[in-house]
């Protein structure tokens, strides 16, 4: 047990050279007071070393693998996608040629919210922030000539995830891969979409039912595939502090776990395929402690609360990357430096996969050059800096171990608060969690504007800047028209009777309340479109009515 008393959040977050008074208390973003020096006594008082253990062993605080990066460095997986599937395929291959080891697919907004490219609502949005997908055909083009055993693919997709997972599996099957051995990940974390990012389609209950459908379906048919990547990431981007980020991720992961258990699956049948996505910007030591604490806490939850017996069920597998909210529009080159520190944080934290926001992202979709620069940032760490030599290099530091204990306590406290307020599903449905994180985002911006929270280029070391030279990513109207033409050709040439009957079956299964994944797989293989399948589900589930709160 800890003797640390958590004080209410104070405005002084982090020491700064602007504050000469060394006696002023310093807090990290999660509200934990930071001492000037740490000793064995501090570590003992925070709970000691009981939760530390060894890498690859319960409680996995030090990492989920015994050998970690010495055996295999983290997977490099830059978030990529724009225009139509041909454009995206070309960029995928460029990144792979430059040493990238995984793919992370960005979809355009129509695809993300389940509408087709020829829908009126898609005007001006086709292929703009990701690649346009209307049917299985688009997946076939996007992954053409990419070895799906060597390069694992992560789909950043949520509202329409059940459909896109089916498309990925169907595409792989068509190319001769055995889907029972296929690896890959879908983000598919709809609860966080209601909190931040906003690509919801259906009301909360059917939305989480669909997540459970995908987990159940994959457990039986594609057991190596990770159907969900639970994201604290976007909740942090929306205003949560680092301890809340991880705690909210865990209550969400528990909500999905409970739904799947209620269907009669054993926790060890699927827990090892749950993965996570967390953010890496902020205080280096707070971040490293967050990840170490989170691994121990998740292992404890899965083992003690859910009774898992397979150690692989207990490990917190994660992508630790991004850091968009830490980057600035001001002095954008400084983001290159920030990105390198964020990569260091991710590596010191034992991430399985890393992606970095590019320095020009406050301006535009990253250019080839800026994406390659992010890749090189990671490659320098791997090849030159000794980051792969030994596992969990910060272990045993009085500071890091003490902070790890304190961050874990703080996360448990946040999880208790959510339980006391009726659970995460209720909080999301009523909009209270959304209001809470948005209030914190406002408070933080006020602190940045007043200079209380130092930010280089914004409230210190500012410069009079010319508009920087940025290679703006153009919006290709031609690509959008091409995508619409392709969709219209598809509708004319496919077996429309098969489409109708598979869609009717999908409506029927949705109405019966059974797992809709087999029906979605059948519709996908008949080349039904994303919009058609979504509409079929909407006819039963309805659409989400956003509780407009701020």
């Amino acid at each position: 047990m800890t003797t640390q008393q958590y004080k209410p959040r104070k405005k002084i977050r982090g020491a700064s050279i602007k504050r000469q008074d060394t006696e002023r208390p310093v807090f990290n973003e999660s509200g934990i007071e930071i001492r000037k020096t740490y000793t064995a006594e501090d570590l003992e008082a925070s709970g000691g070393v009981d939760m530390v253990g060894l890498p690859g062993e319960y409680p996995f605080t030090r990492g989920i693998h015994k050998e970690m990066y010495r055996k295999r460095p983290w997977t490099m997986r830059q978030y990529t996608g724009f225009g139509n599937p041909e454009d995206t395929n070309k960029r995928f291959r460029f990144l792979i040629e430059n040493g990238q080891t995984g793919l992370n697919v960005a979809f355009d907004l129509p695809s993300q919210i389940g509408i087709d490219s020829d829908d009126d609502m898609a005007i001006g949005e086709i292929g703009r922030v990701g690649m346009a997908v209307d049917s299985l055909h688009d997946f076939e083009v996007a992954f053409d000539e990419i070895d799906l055993e060597k390069i694992t693919v992560s789909l950043t997709i949520n509202g329409s995830a059940a459909i896109m997972i089916a498309m990925y599996l169907a595409m792989a099957e068509k190319r001769g891969y055995d889907i029972s051995k296929l690896r890959g990940t879908a983000q598919n974390d709809i609860l966080k979409e209601f909190i931040g990012r906003g690509t919801w389609i259906f009301p909360v209950e059917p939305s989480i039912k669909l997540v459970a459908d995908t987990i159940e379906y994959c457990a039986h048919n594609a057991p190596k595939y990770s159907p969900v990547s639970v994201c604290g990431y976007h909740i942090r981007e929306s205003g949560a502090d680092p301890a809340q980020e991880m705690a909210y991720g865990f209550v969400i992961a528990k909500a999905y776990t409970d739904l799947v258990l209620a269907r009669g699956l054993d926790v060890d049948e699927f827990a090892s395929r749950l993965s996570f996505n967390f953010n890496i910007y902020g205080n280096i030591f707070e971040q490293v402690a967050k990840f170490r604490a989170g691994r121990g806490l998740w292992a404890k939850i899965i083992k003690e609360e859910y009774g898992a017996t397979n150690p692989r069920s207990m490990v917190l597998r994660m992508i630790a990357g991004g850091g968009g909210s830490g980057l600035t529009k001001e002095q954008p080159e400084v983001n290159i430096v920030r990105g390198a520190y964020y990569a260091l944080i991710s590596a010191l934290s034992g991430a399985q996969t890393m992606a970095l926001c590019c320095f020009d992202e406050a301006y535009t979709i990253p250019s080839e050059d800026s994406q390659r620069l992010s890749l090189r940032t990671m490659q320098v760490l791997i090849e030159e800096m000794g980051m792969c030599d030994t596992v969990d290099p910060l272990a045993g530091s009085y500071y890091v171990e003490t902070l790890t204990n304190q961050m874990r306590d703080r996360m448990e406290e946040v999880m208790r608060e959510v339980d006391e307020q009726g659970g995460i599903v209720k909080m999301v449905a009523e909009g209270s969690i959304q209001s809470k994180v948005s209030a914190q985002a406002y408070e933080l911006l006020r602190d940045i504007e007043s200079g209380e929270f130092p930010k280089v280029g914004i409230n210190c070391y500012e410069m009079d800047e010319e508009e920087p030279e940025v290679e703006y990513h153009p919006y290709a109207e031609d690509d959008a028209r091409k995508q619409i033409r392709r969709l219209q050709t598809l509708r004319a040439e496919r077996d429309n009777a098969a489409v109708e009957s598979t869609l009717a079956k999908l409506v029927d299964d949705a109405r019966q309340g059974v797992n809709v994944m087999p029906a979605i797989m059948a519709a996908v293989k008949a080349y039904a479109t994303v919009g058609e399948m979504t509409d079929a589900l909407v006819s039963v589930y309805g659409r989400y009515n956003e509780p407009v709160r701020f």
């Binding site: 907004l109 129509p110 993300q112 919210i113 609502m121 898609a122 005007i123 001006g124 949005e125 703009r128 922030v129 979409e193 931040g196 990012r197 906003g198 690509t199 919801w200 981007e237 929306s238 205003g239 600035t328 529009k329 001001e330 406050a362 301006y363 535009t364 948005s438 209030a439 985002a441 406002y442 911006l445 006020r446 504007e449 914004i458 508009e467 940025v470 703006y472 919006y475 956003e546 407009v548 709160r549 701020f550």
Partner: protein, 135 residues
């Protein structure tokens, strides 16, 4: 819709145009404008131009503010402009904030946007702009 209704104060509509769901910035601006004493109506996500024009008219707002993070603002504002003219809303103070690439800014000014506030703008700048322009 959410509004804090009180007659006599400057009324501001904040809308999220298009399909994008990144609303951190929009919500921050809503809070800042309320703190500055304005009446604020926030639409929530995914508002088509027709809805924004309709709400602006029904709520009799002085200011129409858009928060755009995903790049579709130029085609969106073209359509909204037509509707504003149609409904006699083109005398309203019209503002946009978010990720507004430099090449789009001229196009938006040509469409009649009075204020463009890219990410990084200080909140008080937005408040002052409204106070100066709306009498």
């Amino acid at each position: 819709m959410n509004s804090n209704t009180n007659r006599g104060r400057i009324r501001v509509l904040i809308a999220k145009p298009g399909l994008d769901g990144h609303d951190r910035g929009a919500k921050i601006v809503v809070r800042a404008l309320i703190d500055a004493g304005f009446e604020v109506i926030y639409t929530g996500l995914r508002q088509p131009p027709e809805a924004v024009a309709q709400v602006a008219m029904e709520e009799d707002v002085d200011v129409i503010g858009l928060s755009s993070m995903a790049g579709s603002h130029v085609p969106y504002c073209k359509r909204l402009k037509e509707l504003m003219v149609e409904k006699g809303l083109d005398d309203k103070l019209w503002m946009i904030g978010g990720v507004i690439p430099m090449p789009d800014q001229a196009a938006l000014r040509d469409l009649g946007l009075d204020g463009i506030f890219p990410a990084g703008t200080r909140l008080e700048e937005i408040v002052e702009f409204i106070n100066e322009r709306v009498q």
